[in-house]
């Protein structure tokens, strides 16, 4: 039985969601949410929602307390909420934590950024059949007998037959009264996807740049997870050489040295070839770099790999160029020039945290 309070609670939740949605841009640019992420929930700090009333703004006012201490002794930043009713209540809690399921967050993100639903590529749909109970029929296995409907039928019959006695309301369903649940098979597409995160960890990528990558990946991840039933993530870091690493290393590694982007693209290509047959998988590489590649020669090599290998295989290849203290590199311009009308390749300049919002839109706005 749904308790009454649950209805009120869900109405409250809806108000909270609305608030989060209105301030989503703020939450996106602040990385704090990522740290609060549980398995399926994110905990979001929100200012307390209050019904406004004419009331005293008693902040920074004095009050009366009880206990030891000399005149001049500090008694803390905020005397307890448990003050005497109205008396003595100094500023108290004003922040509440709201747990939002990741799926819900993805939905908010999708609505706010107007992200299109991703259309998985044609043949890769692994169809799964599932049964859904959709109706009622007159025959079926006893295990699916619908009690209420059967008795209702019986009651109907007895009433029309005039055998029903309200003072002795015994209703006995006969065979023709029996009703059973019926089902239909529905084919649900189940799609697999893999996200391959690639990050440049050369000397010129600082902590702030990595933080930007971290925040942006979090949101990309959240969105794509809401679109695919089964999703895998792989992580590649590179400077002049590329390695595959785990998530933790991915965000914490700091290398110095030069940048050879082609090394990462090669590795990415290998991983795809080895583990993710194009016929079964939707593939999403995301590459973040400051765009300072080794030289024209390596950029040419990158372009070659992209054109001949990667773009053939992936749903979308995303390149995000994060601006570093040393300025922004050439790589994004080279890509843009080379792949002008290629839909599989999306590039985005991420100047600072504020730009993350639009960048997410660039990357996910195509619905590929």
């Amino acid at each position: 039985m749904v308790r009454r309070i649950e209805e009120d609670k869900s109405r409250f939740d809806r108000i909270v969601r609305g608030k989060i949605k209105r301030e989503l841009r703020k939450y996106i640019t602040h990385g704090e949410m990522i740290g609060r992420r549980g398995k399926d929930f994110v905990s979001i700090p929100l200012p307390q929602i209050e019904i406004p009333r004419f009331r005293y703004g008693r902040n920074k006012e004095g009050g009366v307390g009880q206990g030891e201490g000399n005149v001049g002794d500090p008694i803390g930043a905020a005397p307890g909420e448990d003050g005497a009713g109205q008396a003595g209540d100094a500023p108290g809690r004003h922040i509440m934590e709201v747990d939002v399921p990741l799926t819900e967050l993805a939905k908010l993100l999708g609505e706010e950024l107007e992200l299109p639903k991703i259309k998985p590529r044609g043949k890769k749909n692994v169809a799964a059949t599932r049964e859904r109970y959709v109706g009622i029929r007159q025959s079926g296995p006893e295990s699916l007998r619908h009690f209420k409907r059967s008795f209702r039928e019986a009651l109907k019959r007895e009433m029309t037959a005039g055998t029903y006695d309200p003072d002795n309301p015994i209703v006995v369903p006969l065979q023709p009264d029996r009703r059973y649940r019926s089902w239909r098979e529905v084919r649900l597409p189940e799609n697999n996807a893999v996200i391959i995160y690639v990050m440049d960890v050369s000397g010129s990528m600082g902590d702030e740049q990595k933080e930007i990558v971290r925040i942006e990946s979090f949101w990309i991840d959240t969105w794509l997870r809401s679109q695919y039933k089964h999703i895998e993530s792989r992580y590649i870091i590179h400077d002049a050489v590329a390695y595959e690493v785990d998530q933790k290393t991915f965000y914490s590694t700091r290398e110095s040295g030069g940048t050879k982007i082609s090394s990462a693209y090669k590795l990415c290509n290998e991983i795809i070839d080895r583990h993710y047959p194009v016929t079964d998988w939707n593939i999403y590489p995301f590459h973040f770099s400051d765009g300072d590649n080794w030289g024209g020669g390596d950029t040419k090599e990158c372009i070659r790999i992209l054109r001949e290998e990667l773009l053939e295989k992936v749903n979308q290849f995303a390149y995000g160029q994060v601006e570093s203290p040393y300025g922004s590199g050439q790589f994004i311009k080279d890509l843009d020039k080379e792949f002008k009308n290629q839909e599989e390749l999306v590039t985005s300049q991420i100047k600072d945290r504020e730009a993350i919002y639009d960048s997410i839109k660039d990357f996910l706005g195509k619905g590929r």
Partner: protein, 503 residues
């Protein structure tokens, strides 16, 4: 009340025993129906202010969310919840230990005695359980008819204004309700208005119809201007809105529901220190004298100390009330009152003072009957008490961003306490003019007592007031020692400074 709750039979003999003990001490209460509930039910009931069948509103959901989290994190637990009703309902947490249940039941009987006898509760509806359920049904019905969102939005506005009632109005008759409205008078204008004296046969020449009309018009205008509206500033703003705002039937009903409930809950805010003090006073007496088994002493002490625990710098109504009642009992037992006592300056003499009057118990019963928190503190918070119980006054220090003890002076402490309780912690606001600028605008005046209103909330509240009044609304108040008028005209907020004292 049969929503999954159950009366545990094993508590019944215990309840009976405690009931008899309580009666033996002179406590007198309505019948109390105890129900044991689990934590989820308790949180639900508490969110609804004690009434499981209350009208639906998201704010109860919010309350529930916070209570549930507080409980899950182990920050708070509600042991008991008692409803002012006849019979009284008391919800006990199922997981309380037996000694907890004893304590809580003793506590409950004292609360119910307080509900029944304290003067401030005299006018509360003792069939509120039924009334609340009725309110709930009506609101649900309106929601079905007019849409959930619309009704809830209107409720938001009502709840936003529900502290704008006259806390004394159940006791003071401020005005007669006039039954005559403006339109009634218009229908029958005074025929003899402004007639010049004339002989009968000359009348229609000396007093032609258009002249008479003119006279009537002038008189009417004059009388409207003379009639202030309302005649006296109206503290029961909700009542004023009910009588004068252009509301639809259902809206009127919802607003009156909000007002009824506000009046029902008001005395609980007015007697928080006393009520909790009284209940604690009695549970402690009954437990220690009558109910405790030897094996339960430690658990009881633990629980009781939790009840009267005071955070450093905080003020716990349970503790303050308890200590004041105990102080009163002792003083009246020893005769420490009256002019003789007041005039005695000798410290040693005062310490030894004992006339063996034994009036203590009778006095505390009188006090619980006649006082509210303001008069209670005003009368019984003495300098000796203040010193012995180590009360202090604190204030905020900008440099350290902390609160510091700044005085232990009796006057200052008492003044502050009383000030905090003025109008029971609510700002004093009255309708000054319901036809401001002669344009049907609503003008409220805040009687400033030294503390400014919370401005952002005040503006949001004005917005809600506008929803109900549907014409521009104004609030005169003081901001940083300047008299200002906050206005909302349905589109934007404005603030205007007042030069003179006129409204």
């Amino acid at each position: 009340m049969n929503r999954g709750t159950r009366v545990s039979t094993d508590l019944r003999p215990l309840a009976q025993e405690i009931r008899e003990i309580a009666s033996g001490y002179g406590l007198d209460f309505f019948d109390v129906i105890f129900e044991q509930v689990d934590y989820a039910q308790m949180n639900e009931i508490a969110s609804y202010g004690g009434f499981p069948s209350r009208y639906p509103h998201w704010s109860f959901g919010m309350e529930y969310d916070q209570l549930s989290k507080g409980y899950a994190y182990g920050l708070q637990k509600i042991y008991e919840l008692v409803i002012n009703n006849d019979p009284s309902y008391a919800y006990l947490m199922e997981c309380n230990t037996l000694v907890d249940q004893k304590l809580v039941m003793a506590h409950v009987y004292a609360h119910v005695d307080f509900f029944k006898h304290n003067a401030w509760f005299k006018h509360t509806n003792r069939k509120m359980m039924d009334a609340m359920a009725n309110h709930g049904t009506r609101v649900r019905k309106y929601a079905e008819k007019h849409g959930v969102d619309e009704v809830e939005e209107f409720l938001d506005a009502c709840k936003s204004l529900d502290n704008l009632i006259d806390y004394y109005s159940p006791y003071v008759r401020r005005r007669e309700r006039s039954k005559v409205s403006l339109s009634d008078e218009e229908k029958q204008p005074d025929r003899s208005v402004g007639k010049l004296r004339a002989k009968n046969y000359m009348d229609r020449y000396i007093n032609p119809e258009d002249f008479l009309e003119e006279q009537r018009e002038a008189k009417r205008r004059k009388s409207v201007a003379a009639r202030k509206f309302p005649a006296e500033p109206e503290r029961d703003i909700l009542l004023f809105l009910l009588e004068n705002a252009p509301l639809e039937r259902w809206q009127q009903d919802v607003l009156s529901i909000a007002r009824d409930e506000a009046y029902y809950f008001a005395p609980q805010g007015q007697t928080k220190i006393m009520n909790e003090g009284w209940a604690t006073f009695w549970h402690s007496r009954m437990m220690t004298r009558d109910l405790l088994e030897a094996s339960e002493v430690v658990d009881y002490a633990d629980h009781h100390s939790g009840t009267v625990f005071t955070q450093p710098g905080g003020l716990n109504p349970y503790k303050l009330g308890l200590e004041l009642f105990r102080d009163i009992e002792e003083r009246w037992n020893r005769g420490q009152f009256g002019p003789e006592w007041e005039e005695c300056e000798d410290y040693v003499e005062r310490r030894r003072w004992d006339k063996q009057l034994g009036l203590g118990l009778q006095k505390v019963f009188d006090v619980r009957k006649l006082y509210n928190d303001v008069t209670f503190i005003d009368t019984f918070l003495t300098e000796d008490f203040c010193r012995e119980r180590k009360l202090f006054h604190y204030s905020y220090n900008k440099q350290t961003d902390m609160y510091h003890i700044d005085s232990r002076e009796f006057r200052k402490i008492k003044q502050r306490l009383l000030f905090q309780l003025t109008n029971f912690g609510q700002p004093i606001i009255a309708v000054q003019n319901g036809n401001f600028r002669n344009r049907g605008e609503l003008y409220l005046k805040h009687q400033h007592e030294g503390v400014d209103l919370k401005l952002d909330q005040a503006e949001d509240t004005l917005r809600n007031l506008f929803k109900i009044w549907q014409r521009p609304v104004h609030l005169e108040t003081v901001i940083f020692e300047r008299r200002k008028v906050l206005s909302y005209d349905g589109k934007e907020h404005t603030r205007r400074e007042l030069k003179s004292n006129s409204t």
